[in-house]
Amino acid sequence: MTRIDFDKYEEFYAKRTGAMRSSVMRDLMAVTAMPDVISLAGGMPNTSSFPAKTLDKITHEIAMHGAAAALQYGPTEGFDETKENIIEVMAEENTLVERENIIVTTGGQQGIDLVTRILVNPGDTVIAEAPTYPGAIPSFCSFEADVIQVPLDDDGLRMDLFKEVLGKLLKAGTKPKFIYVIPDFHNPAGVCLSFERRQELVALAKEHQLIIVEDNPYGQLRFEGEALPTLYSLDDDDNVIYLSTFSKILSPGIRLGWIVAPAPLLAKFNLGKQAADLCPSTFAQKIVNRYFEQARWQDYVDTVRDIYHKRRDAMLTALDEYFPEEAIWTHPQGGFYIWVTLPDYINTTDLLALAVEEEKVAFVPGAGGWVDGSGANHMRLAFCGVPEDKIEEGIKRLAKVIREQMVLYRALQGE
């Protein structure tokens, strides 16, 4: 008898590899990426609005005057100039940070990976929102974290439920390794953590000596309403690790993000980064450094913010017009995403197949935001990457397939 494994290397894989998984979205990527599909799926920043002349000038200057350094290895924690750029960005959020507390990472994603790598042993508890950023789940899972998810509402993480979960854990002698939150324009839910809850969360962290991981890639993209203080700025007890990125304010292709953290943690992140990739791209950093030197980075953020604002409005208008009244959705004041909740008999992973095949429109099924795959009746709609007319058309098509499911459901109920 021969037992054939599809993969002859299977016996070599580490146990944690078994916890890594691909998402439904990845599997359907080949179809959703067809040019005639209106994709409300990917959170793609609008890179086409970046001024080509600026990029041309900067890269030319680097080639002519700074090629040697730009092509060389650099410090693991990133160039001082890059850290200065980061300080400038964070000052815009009224968050004051020191160079010594910054490490430049390869995209914001590496920040999540490093924090988990350094803090989590297999079986350790991590608390996250329900839903959470779908891209964080593979990081948590690959380090075999036990992820407990606490529901959020229009004001972000439900503090009543969070305290309940935390209380039970502490009573059982289990201290979570960290609490991962996206306070501004949550991915995928689109909501912000309210000011009161921010204060309460930071106070709880101080009281119980917990670590909060604040992931804030969308903080600069507020279209309306009052800016809220970062958790990092509210914390006076060194309990917050702050993660962000240049992806949404400049370019995701640049692959540069950062971690701000208390010195002891930062030293460990530095060791983790050495092991992972030695240093962030020096070439990419030089581009960012020159860009910050020569242009007002805020101008570009203003440009894209304006684009996203119009697109959000278009999506909200279309949702009002076309979606059935049984559906509810969030009204984000910034960021990239609207989160839709459908009747609980609709499974959005299946709905995606119908939407792509019949109506040529795609979105992200809600289940991706849960480690255990629950939340199947939700969907994430990204308004960032598609012009207004296509948004309207996409929502119209999506509404059609949702209504089809509803008509069928009523028939199945004998109505």
């Binding site: 021969t2 054939i4 599809f6 359907l28 008999y345 709905l351 499911q405 069928l408 459901y409």
Partner: protein
């Protein structure tokens, strides 16, 4: 003599596009290694134009699911007079639709799990919902709910009681306008690949999910199931299964190659589930695995499938 020109058709719009792109890439590589002149077409509205320009000696269809496996592409190739791999239009239509397949099997006296089938209209316009209690009694729970269009494990759900049927039906209807409710049979899952101008069965593969049977993600995720080839069966039982598979292949009118999926229940009773007319050609597909088990390498497999098509003309 100049090299034979082969068009590899891959991709298309089906939900299995990804698998098809992988199948196509492997077939392309094999054909080039075999010395053919290869043109690859990622199928879209320009397909017919491209085929008319290329004028290939034959087309190798490396597409799965809608359009590629349901007779559509086959019909177009017939019109263009281009020989193609695998089954013709009619068997493609029959096998793509599990309901049609099962009716033909039943008519030919071939065992297949008991089933009922509906389209959307039956529920929305004819009150089929009121038959669900009867179906529940007839089939017993759990009931397997499947979209009729085969080619993907997506959309297959289990209803453990009547209250779970609506959600399972809505899921299945997301993938096709026709669904079937099938009696659940506990047993070994066997895949029998068929190959050749004179069809022969390749070694039987047993698919043994490492986790719960109901976990479909596991069944179709790399490394989440064991594949045992040849399956551990007595020579008599194996011979029965092979001859049943060949009978199924013939009964549906298939040609060239294909794969018959069979369940063997606890008392060794055999039940035919479905037939794939274009099973995958990826590194992890069952057909190449079965071929390998009898010493037929991938290139050889691809060439035999191609020659069936060219000699068939």
């Amino acid at each position: 003599m100049s090299k034979k020109k082969i068009a590899v058709l891959k991709g298309g719009r089906s939900l299995e596009r990804e698998i098809s792109l992988k199948s196509g890439a492997r077939v392309e590589k094999a054909l080039k290694a075999l010395g053919y002149s290869v043109d690859v077409i990622d199928v879209d509205v320009r397909m017919v134009k491209r085929l008319k320009e290329i004028k290939p000696d034959a087309a190798f269809i490396a597409m799965h699911g809608r359009s590629g496996e349901d007779g559509t592409v086959q019909e177009l190739l017939d019109i263009l007079g281009i020989p193609y791999t695998g089954s013709n239009v009619l068997p493609s239509i029959r096998c793509m639709d599990k309901v049609l397949t099962k009716h033909i099997l039943v008519a030919d006296g071939i065992p297949t799990p008991r089933f009922y089938a509906f389209n959307r209209d039956a529920f929305q316009e004819l009150g089929a919902t009121d038959t669900l209690p009867i179906i529940g009694e007839e089939l017993g729970y759990p009931i397997v709910v499947k979209p009729a269009a085969q080619g993907s494990a997506l959309g297959i759900r289990f209803a453990h009681e009547e209250s779970e049927l609506p959600a399972a039906l809505i899921s299945a209807f997301s993938f096709d306008n026709k669904v079937l409710l099938e009696k659940y049979i506990k047993g070994k899952e066997l895949a029998v690949s068929i190959l050749g101008r004179e069809p022969r069965a390749l070694p039987i593969v047993e698919v043994r999910p490492k986790t719960d049977f109901f976990d479909f993600e596991s069944r179709y995720t790399l490394g989440k199931a064991d594949y045992i080839v040849p399956a551990e069966l007595s020579p008599e039982v194996a011979a029965d299964i092979e001859s049943l598979s060949l009978k199924v292949f013939e009964s549906l009118g298939c040609s060239g190659f294909g794969r018959v999926d069979i369940l063997m229940d606890e008392s060794d009773g055999l039940q035919v589930l479905e037939i794939n007319t274009i099973p995958g050609f990826t590194e992890t597909s069952l057909l190449p695995m079965a071929a390998q088990a009898t010493g037929i390498g991938f290139n050889e497999l691809v060439e035999e499938i191609l020659l069936c098509a060219m000699e068939g003309q």
